[in-house]
Amino acid sequence: MSIVTVQLGQCGNQIGFEVFDTLFSDSHSSQGLCSKRENEAYRASCKERFFNEEENGVPIARAVLVDMEPKVINQTLSKAAQSGRWKYGQHAYFCQKQGSGNNWAYGYSVHGPRHEESIMNLIQKEVEKCDSLSGFFIIMSMAGGTGSGIGAFVTQNLQDQYAHSLKMNQIIWPYGTGEVIVQNYNSILTLSHLYRSSDALLVHENDAVHKICAKLMNIKQISFSDINQVLAHQLGSVFQPVYCAEGSFHYRRNPLGDLMENLVPHPEFKMLGVRNIPQMSENSLAYSTFTWAGLLKHLRQMLISHAKMEEGIDWQVRPPLSGLPPLGKMPLNKELHFNTSIANLVILRGKDVQSADLGKKLRAYLHQYTKFGIEEEDFLDSFTLLEQVVASYYNL
């Protein structure tokens, strides 16, 4: 079953490219770890999921790229085509000439409705190319203007049009110190809208990935490309075909369905996090040995002690109850991960709005939103929803 990916904004497009690249290289790696027949089965399964077969043999990624500026999309398309191994569809993108100035409201209320038809048409074309649709991936950042505003809008549209398909949003949590001034506002609005229309929110934290790059992978100058590669690696490990002994097809056919059913059945708990080990650069892999039991033990402790990296795990923490059962045979385990930064954000919100001079500055920014139709009530609604989410998680 196939997954259609929607890449939104600069962040989404760059990460999307890395994801497809990683998936492709993984399925075509010549490591020689298993028999030829198994390799082919794996490759076929991965290809069917993420790529479309073309006549001259170059697979086309099942993706739709959306951005308001042409620069990033052009870069992404050309990078993919240059590699020669896979590419994006020729017309599978949508871009405009101007940006949206990191304004969420502009993205949601203006760009969204204006370009709704074109974007949904593109998605529809991709869906029709699939023999069977497993669901949608939507990759976006939370704090930018285009990615977040349009992402929320597109997800809502997908909910209306493809009510029965499963949707998973990959959202990139911004750095704590912030790249964009209004990122907190953007994040709150994005989260609340996505909570209503999406099935699962897979959160990637820039901070955590940055630390992984720095400490474990020994990269000196960390660029976005490195961060994206680590993210792509994490995503790839989750969504590559899982082997299962039963059934005539050795790889489970419905990746999103399996994941969703086991992880997010409860409508109030939709946030997911990813942990994967080993976290090291490709070069060091050859010099280490692992045992399955050791890996699992590390991973389990990482989950229990809320660590995000392999290093510095607190081994003293013990769980009160048993954890969730692992899925399949992949070197990954996922759980409902309550991200404490939501609580921080919300508290920060409250403090900011109450304190006098900061209040004036933020009121100015609020103007940007009300200009495009996002009123204060919308903000209040979003706060309420998120407070509820925070409360539900606290009561777990």
């Binding site: 023999d131 209503r196 419905n254 059913e261 997010v264 059945p265 109030e268 509820q388």
Partner: protein, 491 residues
């Protein structure tokens, strides 16, 4: 089990060979039925258990697991059988205590088999499931499914208050399963449509005009072929399927000999035709293969049906014999209700201290029981016995009745709308271009419209009921001043 011992009928006694014949007929009508000799030895509890475990497994496991289940280990099969019997309410506890390796208990298994046979027409049900279906069948009308509420599930009383989040979790899982089912059904529809399109003009019956999946499968793989083709076809549809049906390359006229009749008439089959898959056979031999396989399948089904008939005729002999089997069982232990406890062997020294500890624990437990009992009584008095107690169960019964009445009213309304009698039951899917005259054909568009109107009715009813619930909630919220209710987000 309680079947009364019947008086021995001298007329039946005369047919001494009747019993093995009847048992043989029973075996033939069941999948993987063991020989009559195994039945006889099972009565005396001889070690014939594995065969009987496997038979029960085949009878109880869900149909879709046919292909993979054969490879399950005996222990796994034993576990499955035990849990399936328990969920159906099998009364004898001795079966649950049989060892997991499946080596013992053939008499108990025989009793379990006869319990299943006594509950319902098992051989007939199995034969109906394994019926050879040539066409792509879909059920048009669900009235039988709606009318019967399904097998009676043993009512389990919850021990304590159930966390509502658990229930929400399970509902969510159910919803996801539902959505996955819809996705699979859409996939199946796409593939069916492709197959019907690509096999235009291949069928000998002009009215049908194209092959169904079952026929295609038989043509594609004349050597193999699985049992119960109609149901198992869904499994064998894989995504390379339509591609192999419609590969773009045209094989050259090879002029090679047909693999069967050794004639030299093997030439390029037209591209996109089904016969292209059998390049080494001439056309008539390829079609012959197909017909041959179909014949084999039908013969197998015939054998099963005849066996079922013979079984029904001689059933009485079997039940009389089963009475004797039941009589041969040792009486059930009186303390069968409680699990036997195996106390570990304790060394002599530790016994004194252990006694002390046990006494203290017992005293503590009594204290706790008292305290919780008092608390619970107070709480229940406040809450008014919600969810439990006689007035709750009568309220629930009233609710169920109301729902059934409403459903019946809706169904009656649909019957009126439908007009002249519409045929029920499964129909074969046929794709045709032209407007064929009515008669006994059902048009898909009409069926879809009928279903849509039913869906609209049900949705309207759902919205009405949800509105009533919301009003009730609002009324309750208004009754408690100073309290702010935040309703959960609509999902």
């Amino acid at each position: 089990m309680g079947r009364r011992r019947r008086l021995v009928d001298p007329a039946a006694e005369a047919g001494a060979g009747a019993l093995p014949k009847v048992i043989a007929a029973l075996s033939r009508s069941l999948p993987a039925g063991p020989s009559p000799e195994i039945f006889r030895r099972a009565k005396f509890d001889r070690p014939e258990a594995p065969a009987l475990w496997q038979l029960l497994f085949r009878l109880l496991s869900p149909r879709s697991a046919d292909g993979a289940s054969a490879s399950l280990a005996l222990e796994a099969q034993v576990c499955l059988v035990k849990s399936a019997l328990r969920s159906q309410g099998y009364p004898r506890l001795v079966l649950a205590q049989l060892p997991e390796d499946g080596s013992r208990g053939s008499r108990e298994l025989l009793l379990a088999l006869s319990w299943l046979l006594a509950r319902g027409p098992l051989p007939e049900q199995l034969l109906a499931q394994a019926h050879v279906q040539l066409g792509d069948e879909i059920p048009v009308c669900e009235c039988e499914a709606l009318a019967s509420p399904g097998p009676r599930v043993p009512h389990v009383e919850a021990e304590g208050p159930v966390d509502i989040r658990c229930v929400q979790w399970l509902m969510g899982r159910l919803r996801f399963r539902w959505r996955c089912l819809i996705a699979s059904q859409q996939e199946q529809c796409t593939l069916l449509s492709k197959i019907h399109l690509y096999t235009r003009g291949c069928h000998s019956d002009q009215r049908l005009g194209h092959l169904s999946v079952a026929e295609t499968e038989m043509l594609r793989d004349p050597e193999g072929g699985q049992q119960g083709c109609g149901g198992g076809v869904g499994q064998s549809l894989d995504l390379a399927y339509p591609k192999s049906l419609h590969s773009g390359q045209v094989p050259e006229a090879s002029g090679m000999m047909c693999g069967w009749c050794a004639c030299g008439w093997v030439s390029a089959h037209p591209p996109g035709s089904l016969l292209e898959m059998q390049p080494s056979l001439c056309t008539s031999c390829a079609l012959g293969c197909f017909a041959f396989q179909l014949l084999r399948r039908l013969e197998r089904e015939n054998t099963g049906l005849e066996a079922a008939l013979e079984w029904r005729r001689g059933e009485l002999v079997f039940w009389r014999w089963m009475d004797t089997v039941l009589g041969a069982c040792p009486p059930e232990a009186p303390a069968a209700a409680t699990q036997p406890t195996f106390l570990p062997r304790i060394a002599e020294r530790g016994l004194g201290r252990l006694e002390l500890a046990a006494r203290e624990l017992r005293a503590l437990q009594e204290e706790l029981c008292e305290a919780t009992g008092r608390r619970r009584a107070a709480w229940e008095a406040r809450v008014g016995g919600q969810g439990r107690g006689p007035q709750w169960s009568s309220a629930r019964q009233a609710l169920q009745k109301a729902v059934e009445q409403e459903l019946a009213a809706l169904r009656w309304a649909w019957e009126q709308d439908r007009g002249p009698a519409r045929p029920h039951g499964p129909h074969r899917l046929v794709r045709c271009e032209d407007e064929a005259p009515g008669g006994q054909h059902l048009r898909a568009a009409e069926v879809i419209q009928a279903l849509r109107s039913q869906e609209a009715c049900l949705e309207a009813a759902l919205r009405r009921l949800q509105g009533q619930c919301r009003q009730e909630l609002a009324r309750l919220a208004g009754a408690l001043p100073g309290l702010i209710w935040i309703l959960p987000p609509r999902c």
